[in-house]
């Protein structure tokens, strides 16, 4: 294994130097893709001393993570996309060992206790993964299933679920959305009825990222009959309990390497001590972490959009039509300039919101605006770029078509566009009053 890796690295070292611009690669396709993909996404260092939120440490963090991605993740993405799943336990252990799963989590539980700007740096760097599914799964592990637990969970609970998730030993998933409730979280139907010192859970969850491989679920369920915003609780649910059924792995348009499950609960019994924080506060806890979730998603997609623009430039530079490279047609390079401008605008909003957030401000409005823009820009960008790839853009062999499929989710998941608009209107005080 080491020898093969060594040989692979030797090839990379020796061959990447001697390739002239239009040489056809005679090596294994995965190797040539690895070389070409890396040279495409290598960018000039953008972290100078006067960066808005990043320091030398952020820069070092990104470099280390990038190396890990290049060696442990990207070479296998095509394979995992084809297989419809990725080895979450293996990858999360590697990331956990390197410290990337608990960047802003408490030190006592294996985290690094750093501020959210470091999480944003991680999210940005994960955008260099050659698909959307794996960063999404990592995001769930590090910043969606665990924030409430980190903040409000008991010490015992944190030791069992938080520590192990940060170390990468246990795979986490988030159980909030249901078949009948997505945007309208308050209308979920899953019930957790107290019987003695246990909760008996009945119901089901939908769109569960990593659901087929997860060891535990951060479950939002109705624990009483009160008003819908005050009757829900978050529960740490081990996925191997009797009554937990992984009904199916959902076949999706994109994000293929991330296994998404529909899960049913049939009289599942879990100790009452597995509740996170206070009973009835689950909805509130869940809402609290949305700002971070949304900024995380934005940070992730911004890097990917940069990469897609760059790959489109590379492709259109060498593809010729009517005696000219496609890129030389003004409509093309002007459009790419427009798109790049929008990406930079979104990036600025991301950094502004992050800077304010780490100072303790409420950035719900800005985070919602950023999420809204990110979803829409990603669709626009992937559509325009795919057009310039022509017939090749329509094939499964190129990164742009995968991006087109993967990024469509951004306007839907983690807060649909319409929900974002509603939040912004609330802050603008333009919603009709009852």
């Amino acid at each position: 294994m080491a020898l093969r890796e060594g040989a692979l690295r030797a090839k990379l070292l020796l061959c990447s130097r001697t390739l002239s611009k239009f040489a056809s690669f005679s090596f294994a396709r995965s190797l040539s893709e690895l070389v070409s993909s890396q040279s495409v996404t290598s960018k000039p260092p953008e972290i100078a001393d006067d960066h808005l939120i990043y320091t030398q440490e952020h820069s070092a963090l990104k470099e280390a993570l990038r190396k890990l991605i290049d060696q442990e993740i990207n070479p296998y993405v095509d394979q995992w996309e084809a297989e419809g799943t990725f080895p979450a336990h293996k990858i999360f252990k590697i990331l956990g060992n390197a410290g990337f799963l608990g960047v802003n989590k408490p030190v006592e539980y294996g985290g690094l206790g750093l501020d959210f700007s470091y999480s944003v740096a991680v999210a940005e760097e994960l955008g260099n993964i050659r698909c959307g599914g794996i960063p999404m799964a990592i995001g769930v592990q590090s910043d969606m299933a665990t924030p409430a637990l980190a903040r409000f969970g008991s010490d015992e609970l944190k030791k069992e679920f938080l520590l192990t998730s940060i170390m990468g030993d246990k795979v986490a998933c988030l159980g909030v959305s249901e078949v009948g409730a997505g945007s309208d979280v308050s209308s979920i139907k899953t019930k957790a009825v107290k019987k003695g010192d246990e909760y008996v859970i009945n119901g089901g969850k939908m769109w569960t990222t990593s659901g087929t491989q997860a060891d535990w679920m951060c479950l939002l369920a109705n624990t009483s009959d009160g008003p819908p915003h005050k009757n829900k609780s978050l529960i740490c649910l081990p996925m191997n309990l009797p009554g937990v059924h992984i009904a199916r792995k959902i076949s999706k348009m994109g994000m293929w390497s991330s296994d998404t499950a529909e899960v049913f609960f049939d009289d599942v019994r879990v100790p009452c001590k597995n509740i996170i924080g206070q009973e009835g506060m689950g909805f509130t806890y869940q809402m609290l972490q949305f700002q971070e979730e949304r900024l995380w998603a934005v940070a992730n997609i911004v890097t990917t959009m940069d990469n897609i623009i760059q790959e489109t430039i590379n492709y259109t530079r060498q593809r010729r039509i009517f005696q000219l490279p496609v890129l030389h047609h003004q409509a093309v390079h002007f459009r790419l300039a427009e798109l790049q401008t929008e990406v930079e605008l979104l990036r600025s909003l991301l950094y502004r919101a992050t800077a304010m957030y780490i100072k303790g401000n409420d950035v719900t409005k800005l985070a919602s605006m950023a999420k809204l823009k990110a979803g829409r820009l990603a669709r626009e960008l992937s559509d325009s770029c795919l057009q310039y790839w022509g017939g090749m853009g329509y094939t499964s062999d190129v990164p742009v078509s995968r991006f087109y499929r993967d990024c469509r989710l951004l306007s839907i998941g983690a807060g649909a566009d319409e929900v974002m608009l509603g939040i912004i209107c609330k802050y603008m005080d333009t919603l009709p009053k009852k």
Partner: protein
């Protein structure tokens, strides 16, 4: 024995970057291009840190010669487990002409100053592919050398080195102090983990000037011109094997 190991780390253009030659053919474009630690230097750092973890040596000192940005490379070495760093400041014209001879003089001077037991370097840098610094450093210090190391083990005051040579593997035993250069299969460098990256912030990097070490940086070499490799030519199709052999003979290939 001091138990101190000096590891040389060089800041080079990242291996995945497509190199472009400057329009005036005086060199390659380095401005705004991604740089990182030379891969063979990473292997050298990893080996030194491994020796420290096995308690065979006491301290790992990372050294880099270059401009201000070389400090980033030293920080990466610190994040991998080196204890402290030495940045030998070389910039401007001096940096453009800095080569193995000058670097080996610097390393030799530092080795004496730091009372080093071992110097571990990468076998070569991926930008100039010189493969000279290790050998020159050993010669200047009159120390034994174990180059192209694919396996290193300490045996008291001696080092056993398995070397990768054309014919296969050669095992030698050399006395310390010695110079080792790391080859590809010596080890797989660890990822700088986030906790170590944060810890590296507190580790010290000393600033030194070549003049302080009594080293003259004048180069004996002058780069006349840098060109891209020739564009790949179109191939030729032949009808028969005889034609093929004839063509091969004509072009002097056979």
């Amino acid at each position: 024995m001091s138990g101190r190991v000096l590891v040389g780390v060089k800041r080079v253009i990242d291996y995945a970057v497509k190199i472009r030659v400057k329009p005036d053919n005086s060199g390659v474009v380095t401005d705004g291009v991604k740089h990182s630690m030379n891969p063979f230097c990473e292997i050298a750092v990893e080996e030194a840190v491994k020796l420290k973890e096995k308690k065979l040596i006491k301290e790992v000192v990372a050294v880099s010669c270059g401009p201000q940005q070389s400090q980033e490379t030293i920080r990466t070495a610190l994040a991998m487990g080196a204890d402290r760093g030495i940045h030998v400041e070389v910039s401007g014209k001096d940096y453009e002409t800095l080569g193995p001879l000058q670097v080996s003089k610097i390393l030799a001077a530092l080795a004496k100053k730091e009372d080093a037991q071992l110097i571990i370097l990468g076998k070569q840098a991926i930008d100039d592919d010189c493969n000279q610094t290790g050998q020159m450093t050993a010669a200047l210090l009159d120390w034994p050398q174990g180059t192209f190391a694919s396996e290193v083990s300490m045996d008291g005051a001696q080092v056993k080195v398995v070397r990768e040579i054309d014919g296969g593997l050669e095992t030698i035993k050399i006395n310390t102090p010695a110079v080792l250069t790391a080859d590809l299969r010596l080890n797989t460098p660890r990822y700088a983990t986030l906790p170590n990256i944060m810890k590296a912030k507190k580790k010290k990097i000393a600033n030194v000037k070549p003049a302080d070490l009594g080293v003259d940086l004048t180069s004996r070499l002058e780069v006349l011109r840098v060109d891209e490799p020739p564009q790949r030519q179109a191939g030729m199709k032949v009808e028969t094997v005889e034609d093929l052999v004839e063509k091969l003979r004509d072009t002097g290939m056979v």
